[in-house]
């Protein structure tokens, strides 16, 4: 491996890294928002909306991100809606992630035992107080590991952004390999930057998981 090549590539990877992180996190934020809304709809069994959410979840969980991105990127302009590659990436990731987040959050909400609800009701708590003070905090603790797993999964999924010509990490690596054939250096940097992107999330995730688990389940 040539150190000179590596240092000359660094700025390009740096730029791609920032772009990947940026779109990745916007997509994840969107996914979380969609997940919370859809999970609430499922939990409260809101008629009609419940059916739509179920269809959405099945559709997006069972198709690859690459296919979804193609649909958004090439399909929407065909019906007259123009979207830029960045928006397309973030929205695509958000929609895919939303279906996963919905399931993680819903299962957390449903894992709170019914008798906890009864115990709170017997103390006179109304539906709103019950949901906010009793169900949500317990459900969150239960959902945290799933949510973190989803975040890590979604950050890795950003690697298909290159297919819609977003200059993310994967795109940069492929591009450089194609141009200069410095495969070893290019792939080495690719791994380093992915780890740089994911390791902090992993560590922060474990920390959050420990912190939320402590109260309810101990160490």
């Amino acid at each position: 491996m040539n150190a000179e090549i590596i240092s000359s590539y660094l700025p390009l990877y740096g730029k791609a890294f920032l772009l990947t992180v940026q779109i990745g996190w916007i997509g994840i934020a969107l996914a979380f928002l969609i997940g919370v809304i859809c999970a609430f709809i499922l939990f409260f069994r809101i008629p009609v909306a419940e059916k739509l959410v179920k269809c959405y979840v099945e559709l997006f969980r069972n198709t690859p991100l690459l296919v979804q991105l193609f649909f958004i990127y090439y399909g929407l302009p065909a019906i007259g809606i123009k979207v830029g590659a960045k928006v397309c990436g973030a929205v695509g990731l958000g929609l895919l992630g939303g279906s996963y987040m919905t399931e993680s959050i819903r299962s957390g909400l449903e894992a709170v035992p019914v008798i906890q609800t009864e115990s709170a009701r017997s103390l006179g708590l109304n539906a709103r107080q019950l949901f906010i003070a009793i169900i949500l905090p317990q459900a969150f603790t239960i959902s945290v590991p799933g949510i973190i797993a989803n975040v890590i999964f979604l950050l890795k999924e950003t690697s298909v952004f290159s297919a819609i010509s977003l200059m993310d990490l994967m795109f940069t690596a492929k591009d450089l390999i194609g141009l200069y054939y410095n495969t070893t250096e290019s792939l080495f940097l690719l791994v380093v930057f992915y780890i740089l992107m994911l390791l902090p999330v992993s560590i922060a995730g474990s920390f959050l998981e420990k912190k939320t688990r402590f109260k309810m389940f101990g160490d």
Partner: protein, 243 residues
């Protein structure tokens, strides 16, 4: 003595199965009523109907003349009814003190200082004030159940319902919980107690109800219930506890 709880012709069905059949009952202020009966006779369901956790199919439940409107919606009269569950049901994400003052703060809108003061004195009475900052998982079953009783008492209920509160406890922890309930009886709290602890029932009850197949088949004072049970079913029930 004035009547506090009145049940008129209560009927409860789960699909085709009738759990409670035409239950009528009147409980006076300060009365301790123990409900006995074989498993599945509807004891717990009766308690759950009284505070509206179960809907009822026929009849009425009145607390101080106010209908405890059944169903899963919020029941205003329920604030006057305290319930303690077999499985404690403390809130695992809150400390002991937070568990105890949650409803007073949120439901009764009391001040935190005042609620905390009362909570600590009640916790002190059951010997658990030192554990106020612990989480439920750090307590033994008996301790958790004592906290659950304090939590119910904090709402100043007119009547307390105990649903087999010692059934999940190790034998050596049963006593500490029963002592707390005995203490409440001395202070003239109105209580409905479902239990399988016969000697406890004998000691605490002003009145014993014996339920079988969803109906009250005996309603008498403890002495006559245990010594001269009137019905065949009560006699055979009591015999199952003999060795």
């Amino acid at each position: 003595m004035e009547e506090i709880l009145r049940i008129e012709h209560l009927q409860k069905r789960f699909d085709d199965f009738t759990v409670l059949e035409d239950i009528s009952l009147s409980v006076k202020k300060g009365e301790v009523v123990v409900i006995l009966g074989p498993s599945g006779c509807g004891k717990s369901t009766l308690l759950r109907c009284i505070n509206g956790l179960e809907s009822i199919d026929e009849g009425k439940v009145l607390l101080e003349g106010e209908t405890v409107n059944p169903g899963h919606v919020n029941v205003p009269a329920r604030k006057k009814i305290g319930m303690v569950f077999q499985s404690y049901e403390l809130f695992p994400h809150k400390t002991i003190l937070e568990n105890v003052i949650l409803a007073p703060l949120r439901v009764q809108k009391r001040s935190k200082a005042e609620a905390t003061e009362e909570a600590l004195s009640l916790l002190e009475r059951v010997g658990l004030a030192v554990r106020k900052d612990s989480y439920p998982r750090q307590l033994s079953g008996g301790q958790k159940q004592r906290v659950a009783i304090v939590r119910a008492l904090m709402m100043h209920p007119e009547i307390l319902l105990f649903d087999e509160v010692t059934a999940a406890l190790d034998p050596e922890m049963v006593r500490e919980v029963l002592d707390v309930i005995l203490d409440l009886a001395k202070q003239k709290a109105t209580m409905l107690i479902v239990t399988h602890e016969l000697s406890f029932a004998k000691a605490i009850a002003d009145r014993i109800l014996f339920l079988d197949d969803g109906a009250i088949v005996e309603d008498s004072d403890p002495k006559s219930f245990f010594e001269t049970p009137k019905t065949q079913r009560a006699q055979s029930f009591l015999r199952t506890f003999e060795f």
